[in-house]
Symmetry: C5
Subunit: 256 residues, 5 copies
């Protein structure tokens, strides 16, 4: 089995400005789709595979105007899935169409969806009630430059969480946020609301070049009271590397 990844070119699909908006605005729908590549793929000859990769890129490029598409190479670091597609658009049906087009391409016939999570970005829910020092800290500029690793951790809260009044939840989220402050520079975080759109309440997405910092962050988040209300945290945890398509193709070629 081989794995392909097409980050560099794909991340250029959405025009820079639109992409920035899709990745930062509230009201955007994201779909995280993790795929396994079947065993027949590696039995195809090199030319057929190259043509299939080209066609897949074209299929994705058709959506470059209205979606931001990123990929993470899971293979070797996560069970059961080889590659993660992360798609942002203003409507969830755009995300569906992008995945349908990919699956309808010759490459897609070798891809099996393993996990699909959907989420909606929203304005910060609890932060407006936080003290100014936290608000200021949250505005700290993260380290520039690309990150090496991406991690997806879906979360489901328990029923008791949702029955707490908003002040109680805000107090716990304040403590949660304080625990995360030391890692703002080295770990990028993004939150998606998935209640009703799949079997989780939140999809948390992280990018970092320091997995030691990332681990300290998660340990910190486990040491606050809000963590008692996570009925499910991960399962699956999806961890992989953000790589360019060129590096990936080179890796693939090396093995054949």
């Amino acid at each position: 089995m081989l794995v392909l990844i097409f980050t560099t070119i794909i991340t250029a699909f959405a025009h820079a400005a639109d992409r920035e908006k899709l990745l930062t605005d509230p009201g955007v729908f994201a779909t995280f789709a993790a795929f396994r590549l079947d065993e027949d793929w590696s039995k195809l000859d090199k030319g057929t595979r190259a043509a299939a990769v080209s066609a897949a890129k074209e299929a994705l490029q058709r959506h470059s105007a209205d979606a931001a598409i990123d990929t993470v190479l899971l293979r070797g670091l996560s069970d059961h899935a080889d590659v993660l597609l992360r798609v942002h658009a203003m409507e969830l049906q755009t995300n569906q169409q992008i995945i349908l087009d990919l699956l309808a391409s010759p490459l897609g016939r070798h891809l099996t969806p393993v996990y699909v999570f959907n989420g909606l970005t929203k304005k910060a829910n609890y932060a407006p009630a936080f003290p100014d020092e936290i608000k200021t800290a949250l505005k700290a500029t993260p380290e520039a430059g690309p990150k090496r690793y991406a991690i997806v951790i879906p979360i489901r809260k328990d029923a008791a969480w949702w029955l707490l009044d908003k002040d109680a939840r805000t107090a716990m989220m304040k403590e949660h946020t304080e625990a995360s402050l030391p890692y703002l520079k080295t770990v990028k975080r993004k939150l998606y609301h998935s209640t009703g759109l799949d079997d989780f309440d939140f999809i948390t997405y992280f990018e970092t070049s320091s997995l030691a910092d990332f681990q300290s962050l998660v340990l910190g988040l486990q040491q606050v009271k809000e963590n008692q209300h996570n009925r499910r945290f991960g399962s699956p945890t999806l961890l992989g590397t953000i790589q360019s398509i060129d590096e990936t193709l080179e890796a693939l070629a090396a093995g054949q």
Copy 2:
């Protein structure tokens, strides 16, 4: 793998009036069957596939007098299943016969049932005891026009729920219903009783063009006490788009 959907034609199968009755009357049996399309399907040539789709439609049309059949395209937005068939008839064995006929058709050989839920529609259980203002609100006319998305969330209550006396359950359901009032216009809801017919107590079915509103509705329903008695809520949550057969065939053609 390709996906097919045959909403437009199929939804015309039941005569308009009968269909309306099947979709609104109590005492109707519904079966929700989610299928995966196997990998061999996409390897068939176009003519063979077209003939198979025609035969499947004919198989379903034979039941147009006594059943209402709808489809939802899950692929790309849900794990493990590609298409959802929703069938309503006065007897559950009619639903079974429809699915048997579909599976016995050349297309059916490529379909694997992944989930099958059965439910029975009933008169409102708690609403008669609600105050008049809620009763009036519940009669509000929902937005006209077709909805874009359909969502199925099966629910299993805990043992404590069923041991509560009816007044206690009515009080909780009143709170539940109040939480849903703001979304009556943009989110259509339909309830099926499935106790004993599968491993859930209820199948809740939603249609909406605004997933943001739908998410707010589910969040609201999680913030009332009745939610503490949901032993299982979703798992699976099935989310997809309601599309016409023509749009779908076009999408399929594009990929080949």
Copy 3:
């Protein structure tokens, strides 16, 4: 995939009197085996399939003297299994031999066992201590004639149940039984003790032509205290139709 069912002929296998005894006496072992039919079956030509069905019937007929064999068509109404075989004999190894013979036949090569439950029939455990009015009610003659649907719900009790003294369990079972009285006429029930023979404590088997009545019965059974001690109820719930072999073969022919 096609499904076959051979009720009419099979149910004639055990001589009428023996069959009646096997289905009513205590000390009888029952095996419920649910099978999936594989995809290759439908690719065989009609003659090969007909010969395989004949051979399967012969394999089962060899056991007509010492077993009662029934079938339920699950396909279309239950996930993961297509047909349910229900076998009664005085020794569990007879049931095993019947399934081995079926699986060793040409048809059997296309069957995969999905669920196997084993149970033993016993004299009523709690009823002797019930008041006379319940005893009398339990003797009511059920509606004559064949039923349309069969449902299997396996049950596992919690540890607390087994630690209750017998009087406490009898009191709860009295309440359980009272809840079932209104449905004695339209829903046939049969209880199998499976502790130690599989991962459940009981296999409950129902036949009815009125699924609405059956649902009301299960709802009633969920509203008594004994239900709090059901650690697992269903999962799987197997629901299907009792059909004659002739009707089934006709349905199969129609699709090909």
Copy 4:
């Protein structure tokens, strides 16, 4: 799919005296490996299958000096597995080598391991502290002659169990043992300690010709306090018949 079983010859592999020691001494490692036989096996011609069975027997015979090997036919009575191999040796790596040799044989290519449990026999843990009457009762000679059925029930205790002091555990195990006394004659029991060697704490193994007695025994064991500390009991419960290779080959021949 066909099933093979090779009890008679295999159980002669270990010299009678050694076999007796391996099956009764403390400090012996047992491996319970349940296999599914794949669908291709039944497509092989008779001669190829016979040669494969011979080679499998030879593979096992090579270990006759240092291991006791038994088989149970699960097929027809248990889900997901067809045959159970029970191997006893002084070192766990001997058990591994036996299974590796079997899997490396032509027959082994058609076997998929479904469950593997490992256990260690030890001197009785709590019995030395039991009153004399129980100790005497435990020495009762069981019924002579071979048993018809074998049952494997793996058990995992909860954390609270291991935190009880030994006296408290001994008192509960005394009650547990008393519940088992009436069945000493008709149900043979053997205990394996598996903590750390797989995901269970104990593998309990039973042989009986009376499944009614066996069921009464398990019901009795569920009615003592110790049962509250069984976090998992079964799941899977493996039930099958102990048959000679000759009977089995005959059964196989009949089906082909």
Copy 5:
């Protein structure tokens, strides 16, 4: 299905000194990847298999400068996986690249990843606060020489554990450590922190030639209060043998 193992040569890949550092220093990333070997592998002729094994070794050798790679033969002793690869490097992406290279080799096309766990080594967390006698005991020299068995037990703590203050956790870990002291000589232990890197908090790795001692160690660890905070302990427990490639190839040859 055949299994291959290449310990001897592989463990020579990292230069002795580097390997020692990778296996003892804090700040090292380990990946435990368990694979199943598919059924097609055993159908290849001997020459093709030998060439594939050579290519796999070369693929791994390319990383000899910056990684320590070990293997454990799980087959026959664990469900669902045949071989375990344990990789240590300073960056997790090195581990990923090693597994990608292995999977891209001709042998890799027959390997399916079943479990992947990631962990980070750290300085002892609680030991600095332990009394001197425990600190001294922990420095005891373990028995020299290679161990026969390796065991991997992943662990997830509950939310309450992480909310305890550090003194409370240190007290419990002191008790945990005391329970392990009698086994320091015969059971080697190594701890990996996996919070956020997969769905566990710790990966515990053991090597021993005495599984009886290992079992006593785990039983001891289950009898301390800290064990109440293990929400998941094993599931899977991976147990296998550490063997040289030469022994393994011999075993493979014997079966063919």
